[in-house]
């Protein structure tokens, strides 16, 4: 039994804190009837719940990738245990074959041979130039390489049957629970869009289970320039995207809410000062401010190598710094919105009544103003997510995004940017990265729309 040491990266801490905060907010919402009613409207929205299911699948991948450890190196007994430099996650352990079975260079999806010809010595035939067989992709086929399509098809079919059976099991449980309450899942009036959730879940299972089983024998999305499996990179990118999208909003939220409410509530010089701060920050074009801040952060990181014991920790800190920088550049919009809304709220009768009763300012803000701004905050949170995921790709392309050693959609696209110019075309890395990002962002956008419709009925 190999020992291991649990590694807690800063981003892991934040992401699990976010999960806890999500649960806490859920409890608070359950006690607040208007918010609960709004979330019920989201729950009844089919598109909203279908996209929520997809987002949840991404979140599960991200959470699995947020539990890190380092394996113990084999040493003599009695010696002090030493640990590998490489930091692994639970996802790495599950996807072990994907991570370790690297080829030499590019290979197409489901290929059994490399993408480029090589000179090889074959016993009996002398030196020939041919496409060499892959070390791992389709290895179990042995001599019968031509059967790859049939073999993969059959394996996929078996996996799909399995997925269908699993789905039927889940469906049975949910249907039984609902029948107890006298509700139908399909057809008829619903208070929760179980039908959308189940159909989406079926689709996810029908795609994910075959992918998972096939990925142990083939490179389902091909391999990249250094022979790494593209599917593995996609899985690893999910966490980076989620952190950028979620932690950034976590960073900007306290600042935007606090300053926005204070500016709107107290007015006068406080308002002038806060308005001045956000106008200054806003007037610097976002990309340039981020570029300047990231360049400076890079200098700090490079001049203090002693801070980090592993490369993963350094990349992790850079990711968090990027979140902070994005948060600092993006809080102004929400702050302005909240300030405007607070200016309106503070003139309403119930606030003035509270002031007349001598309720302290802090209490008015927490009890009477903040709850009435929650819908704006929630809408802003879900709307920002997709934009941030897209921004990460662009920033990484420009060279001011995440650490180049960290897998993300941006670094994948950046590394693959010249591949369409090759002959024959290497399309699979780019296609996989763009489609995974598209699915994530589309789901986030649709969910955001559902949330906005439920919380803010004014906008059509």
């Amino acid at each position: 039994m190999m020992g291991f040491e649990i590694v807690i990266l800063w981003s892991d801490v934040l992401i699990w804190l976010l999960v806890l905060a999500g649960i806490g907010v859920g409890v608070l919402i359950a006690k607040n009837p208007p918010l609960l009613a709004a979330w019920r409207r989201v729950g009844a929205n089919r598109v909203g719940m279908a996209s929520a299911t997809i987002l949840l699948a991404f979140i599960v991948i991200g959470l699995l990738d947020s539990m890190h450890y380092r394996l113990q190196l084999e040493g003599k007994p009695g010696q002090k245990a030493s640990y590998a430099i490489e930091v692994l996650s639970v996802l790495d352990a599950i996807a072990m074959p994907l991570r370790t079975r690297n080829e030499k260079t590019y290979s197409a999806p489901f290929a059994t041979r490399l993408y480029a010809k090589e000179t090889m010595d074959v016993p009996g035939q002398g030196t020939i130039r041919d496409y060499p067989r892959l070390k791992h992709g389709g290895k179990h086929l042995g001599e019968n390489e031509g059967d790859a399509a049939a073999d993969a098809g059959f394996a996929a079919f078996k996996a799909m049957v399995l997925a269908l059976l699993g789905w039927l099991g889940i469906y049975g449980v949910i249907a039984a629970v609902n029948r107890k309450k006298g509700r139908k899942i399909f057809f008829g009036e619903r208070t929760f869009a179980w039908d959308a959730v189940l159909v989406t879940l079926l689709l996810i299972l029908l795609i994910a289970v075959p992918l998972f089983t096939l990925s142990s024998q083939y490179h389902v999305f091909g391999t990249d320039k250094v022979g790494q499996d593209v599917l593995y990179q996609i899985l690893k990118s999910v966490r980076t995207g989620l952190i950028i999208g979620l932690v950034t909003t976590l960073v900007m939220l306290p600042m935007a809410v606090l300053l926005g409410i204070i500016a709107g509530y107290f007015r006068g010089w406080v308002d002038d000062l806060i308005q001045y701060i956000y106008t200054v920050l806003n007037s610097i074009p976002g990309v340039l401010l981020i570029a300047a801040a990231v360049l400076m952060m890079q200098v700090v990181i490079d001049t203090h190598p002693q801070w980090f014991s592993t490369a993963a920790e350094r990349a992790d800190l850079r990711l968090l710094a990027l979140c902070f920088i994005l948060g600092i550049t993006s809080w102004t919009g929400l702050c302005r919105l909240l300030r405007g809304e607070t200016l309106k709220l503070r003139e309403l009768e119930y606030i003035q009544a509270a002031q007349a009763f001598g309720v302290s300012n802090g209490r008015i803000i927490v009890r009477h103003i903040l709850p009435n701004l929650m819908h704006i905050v929630i809408i802003a949170l879900v709307m920002d997510f997709s934009g941030l995921v897209l921004a990460e790709a662009v920033l990484s392309y420009v060279g001011i995004g995440v650490d180049p050693s960290m897998t993300s959609f941006g670094t994948m696209i950046n590394n693959a940017r010249m591949e369409l110019g090759r002959e024959p075309v290497v399309w699979w890395s780019l296609a996989a990265a763009f489609s995974a990002m598209f699915i994530l962002v589309l789901a986030a956008n649709l969910f955001a729309d559902a949330v906005r419709d439920a919380f803010d009925p004014r906008v059509a």
Binding site: N282, S283, I284, A292, I413, L420, F434
Partner: protein
């Protein structure tokens, strides 16, 4: 009116000073010039003499804010803040790492940037408004529904995809236009078509959806009901009354980005090899040329503030109810 504009301009000065102080703090206080020198010269093999030489060559050897060695006024002027940051107010941006004058370079590169950004902006606005108008006119029909679905899908695609895919399809497969580059004078149009087209397409999704909601907000207003009650045909109500009124928020909303067009687009210019300000900025970021990035931050904020002032003026021009307070 004139007094109003003057007051707005005066109001811009403290904001510019704030931007200047912020960039100064970011570039010189968070990291000392020593750090920058080490970064540029390579972290490993660097001698104190080399750092000193690097700093003297670029004028970074002076004190940050107050030079106690100098006398009189030059205690303030012979400092990094005055020479590198404050001089930007008079258009002196210093020299880039390759020794060229940044201000000159910016003046030369503005042309190509505008040649891309201006057509993209105008065409994009026209196409998006037209599409949004059609969606709003056929509101609550299948056309509207699928149009909005298309918009949301288009919004969810990364901007990088439009560029990479467009270059691949149009330049590599169909060989219609050159893949990248830039020409002089009128010859440049061959190089401009593709980036402009891609810029327009990649912007349609979000802007058309946004303009559609503006049109729909207008549809339920009282004057529209009055127009209908007068017996005007729906097309006249829509294309004469609603269109004109909805254009006010749309056009005043885009005024703020007009000055920023001078900055060019980072992505488009770097992908298409256009020698504009966007690619200048990207190259500077990659080469860690602090002088250029600093200058672009400053120019960007000046242009943004001009945009804000223009927005306010345009509001007062189109809507006489807003007074010059």
């Amino acid at each position: 009116m004139l007094a109003y504009i003057v007051r707005r301009l005066l109001y811009a000065i403290p904001i510019l000073i704030g931007v200047n102080l912020l960039t100064f703090a970011l570039f010189f206080v968070v990291n000392t010039p020593d750090d920058m020198a080490r970064m540029q010269l390579g972290v490993k093999r660097v001698t104190p003499e080399a750092i000193e030489k690097w700093k003297v060559e670029r004028g970074y050897d002076k004190p940050l804010l107050i030079n106690s060695a100098a006398k009189g006024l030059s205690t303030v002027t012979e400092t990094i803040f005055f020479e590198k940051s404050a001089r930007m107010f008079v258009g002196d941006f210093g020299r880039a790492e390759d020794g060229r004058d940044v201000a000159r370079e910016i003046a030369v590169r503005m042309g190509p940037s505008l040649a891309i950004a201006l057509p993209t902006f105008i065409l994009g606005l026209l196409v998006s408004i037209t599409f949004a108008l059609l969606l709003a006119f056929f509101r609550a029909t299948a056309f509207d529904f699928w149009g909005v679905v298309l918009c949301v899908a288009a919004m969810s695609i990364s901007g990088l995809f439009y560029i990479i895919g467009g270059q691949y399809l149009i330049s590599k497969i169909w060989r219609l236009v050159p893949i990248s580059g830039f020409g002089d004078g009128l010859d440049a149009w061959r190089f401009l078509i593709l980036p402009v087209l891609i810029g327009v397409i990649s912007g349609i999704g979000s802007s058309a959806r946004w303009y559609r909601t503006i049109f729909l907000e207008e549809v339920n207003k009282d004057y529209v009901r009055t127009a209908r009650a007068k017996g005007l045909p729906e097309t006249v109500v829509f294309f004469r009354h609603i269109l004109r009124n909805a254009l006010i928020p749309i056009l005043t909303g885009v005024v703020v980005v007009i000055p920023l067009l001078f900055m060019g687009s980072l992505l488009t210019e770097s992908f298409f090899g256009i020698p504009g300000l966007g690619s200048y900025t990207i190259d500077a970021i990659n080469a860690q040329d602090f002088a250029v990035v600093r200058s672009m931050v400053f120019i960007g904020s000046v242009l943004y503030i001009i945009g804000l002032i223009l927005t306010d003026i345009s509001y007062t021009l189109v809507d006489p109810r807003i007074r010059f307070e």
